[in-house]
Assembly symmetry: C3
Homo-oligomer: 350 residues x 3
């Protein structure tokens, strides 16, 4: 409010109309057009998340636009194609496999996913984003996977089998990331659409996604045993269960070279929570196994403030370590810079 | 010790007898009679927890006593009537249903519970208090509920069925709260009577109730889907599993208008724990989705000290936010007052 | 680095060779021989962990050596003899029972364990150390235990039965500790050898032991109901799931006289984690139900630094309580001394 709209007053019932009008006037100015803000915010890279069947024409058009020099990348987001419990799963997967010109089979499904990933890579994607309720992974034998797939597209999987299928597909996504280099981001542990009446009335993403306790150590083990030390693989783990930071995620990232600790996410991207995060992970995994700050906002105007908060809190954490004699000022300065530049650049292959 | 007994010395083996005698002398003074302390502590409302079959005659007598102007309310505490595993459950429920003059049936059982709640409301009760091991809820169909009930009163429920019954009855309690307006307090996650030999020798509440990990997001979902947005319903969640504050309880309270975050309870009502609580919930749910401080002490004399500690810690938390530039001093002052006055008054319908 | 090697420079790629050479020179000096360091570090007691079948000859030789006055004790570490899933379990147990001259039976197995413990006690052992994935305990009836044992030594236990056997044997270990006085240390909640390929290539203890969520309240209940108030029994609980400190371990230690809260262990023995630990347990269980600092390092040279860090953090925690007016300076000084002297001496019967 202060930086973008020159509003210093605390919002209240008294000044609500005045503030609303002031904001509206600003938003109508040319300097508040998206491209102008993109420049003003000095954004180097912005990534969208996209449906695997998206032709990415908008991305191609923007990349080809001589009037826009920014880097806007697509991200492969296949959740709805990997979860047999997702509404419309069978139909969606059939459309996916059709793109290969093959009959609907598990082999065709894997082929189609690989080809769509290649399509995203060709349009500049650097990562594939995976939202799951639990980060369960498993490596099924091909016959079992084929069998689950056949039942899944006809909606004939019980809860246990659906879990096995999802676990196998998260495993397959890691395998494909080893091959095509897409950074694998996994954000787990949120019960989506907790309040069905609100979902029925207003749809998804309406404020009632609620975190649940999440176990990483056992769930990710099959994936990490197979690919955790694969050269070039980058996995970034995001959680909203902060108990896992010191107990599971930092120890895992301390061992597996492929695994990075995602920035504090969603309910945890606020000042106190950011300091708790740094305190929880740093003594086990240091700074260089974290992703550095990346922002997942849907609110374009919030980007500078969010980066600012993150930088201030990391600076505050580093300053404490300096005051306590635990790191030297030059080291703190180096880490502060790396957390917003070298580290996310390396982790996300930018 | 300092405020009530003028004792400034640290207790030790050396001064134990002196302190004991000093305290005994004070306790014998008229100014230490319960009513005198009630006035001196400036207590506005004090609530007891009472058996559903209690006739509340003592409450009626006190309310009718012209010599006492305080507000002392009963609270409906039906745990032992809702849990088939509670000792004497069948017999107790039979006595409950008898109050309706009907035969023992599930419909009669619900009717009796409704009538006893009305009896409590008529005697000034504002809340119904529910202590459960896990906050599991479920909405059974009437035939299934009737069937479980029939088996429950004859002690023929296995562990799974007993859990279903308890879950259904917590759901029913929410439904009744929607109807009669009693604030529903739920405190979950304590394994009562952990050490059976101590229980056998000395009975319950003898120091060996031990917390367990508690999940709220999935367990409360059926209840919240049905009643979470019901006008006028107030549910206050208390926990001794502090991991649930940032992960589950604050996000739930951030969405469901009926849900309030209970003050840090029992093992968590101490200075450091109170600050951890505020840090864990405030960035997601703010101050106005918490219950404000209420005290559940059994030690009458501890009431002023407990409120004092709570106020100091909330003030300390707010002062930090002011120093960090996150809220203004006037806002901090408003919140500090509201946490001990407007908020608990509204949450508990006082 | 500073204290032992006079190295004040921060390590870097530039000075790596210089530092390596400086350290190598120091290590070759007579003052860096183990016995010289033992004296210089002013170690009063050092305990190894040993296989139950170890003859402890090295311990006997050291104890008999007139040239060494230090106290180096063996510790009974029977994990591999209690877990049917441990590689080579059947063969190992057969060798254990053979020491009794009896046929392989459950009674002989218990007898052998008792005798080996007596052998350790005779060589100065004060404790038995138990590392388990989960701290599950159960008291099986003798016939069931005998039956599980018979199957276990032939590798015919499924996962559930193996768990029952382990739970029964942890229970038995507590029973033996009641009899022979060995302090029982339990450290739970680590998935050992998370990355099989690394285990296959390099063996155990190669950096990929990863913590998992751990429940103590229910798991330890059978053991604590049977022995939790047994005179003279000391159990010290170590965890790497810090969520259990305030929720389970402190409340358990607050009630059971046999139970002590182990010092923050492994991933948690660093400055911030130590302060979180003290904050989490002290308000419920105080200082005198914790073990005081003991060190489990494999790096002999790290011992002084680790004790130094622990003492500084405890001193920092106590100083805060003094500044906040919560304890007096003399009390803080007494606790600071007791945490490194009287308390570990009493807890470990030294």
């Amino acid at each position: 409010m202060r930086t973008l709209f020159d509003i210093a007053d605390e919002p209240s019932a008294d000044n609500a109309d005045v503030l609303y009008d002031a904001i509206s006037r600003k938003l109508a100015e040319p300097s508040f057009r998206p491209r102008a803000l993109f420049d003003r915010f000095r954004i180097e890279v912005l990534a969208t998340t996209d449906d695997p069947l998206d032709d990415l024409a908008a991305h191609a058009a923007l990349a080809a636009d001589p009037g826009f020099g920014g880097r806007v990348l697509p991200t492969f987001r296949p959740d709805a194609y990997l979860d047999p419990d997702a509404a419309g799963f069978g139909e969606r997967v059939r459309r996916l496999v059709e793109t290969t010109g093959q009959a609907t089979s598990f082999a065709g499904y894997l082929k189609a996913l690989r080809e769509r990933r290649a399509h995203f890579v060709a349009h500049g994607a650097v990562s594939a984003d995976h939202g799951v309720l639990e980060p369960y992974t498993t490596d099924l034998d091909p016959a079992a996977a084929q069998d689950l797939f056949a039942h899944a597209i006809d909606h004939r999987l019980d809860a246990r089998a659906a879990r096995e299928f999802r676990g196998h597909m998260l495993f397959q996504m890691a395998k494909m990331s080893v091959d095509d280099g897409l950074v694998m981001t996994i954000h787990a542990g949120v019960r989506r659409n907790h309040h069905r009446p609100t979902f029925d009335a207003f749809g998804p993403d309406t404020g009632h996604d609620i975190p649940v306790r999440t176990d990483y150590t056992e769930n990710l083990r099959p994936l990490l045993e197979a690919f955790g030390t694969a050269p070039g693989l980058h996995i970034v783990l995001f959680t909203v269960d902060e108990t896992s930071f010191s107990r599971e995620i930092a120890p895992l990232a301390g061992f597996y070279p492929s695994l990075y600790i995602g920035a504090p996410w969603w309910f945890l991207d606020a000042p106190d929570a950011i300091l708790r995060f740094r305190s929880a992970v740093t003594e086990t995994a240091g700074f260089y196994r974290s992703s550095g700050f990346i922002d997942d906002t849907r609110a374009f105007l919030s980007i500078p403030a969010r980066h600012d908060v993150s930088r201030r809190m990391d600076a505050s954490f580093l300053a404490r370590l300096v005051v306590e004699g635990r790191i030297s000022p030059p080291t703190a300065r180096r880490i502060a810079r790396d957390l917003v530049d070298a580290i996310p650049r390396e982790v996300f292959k930018l």
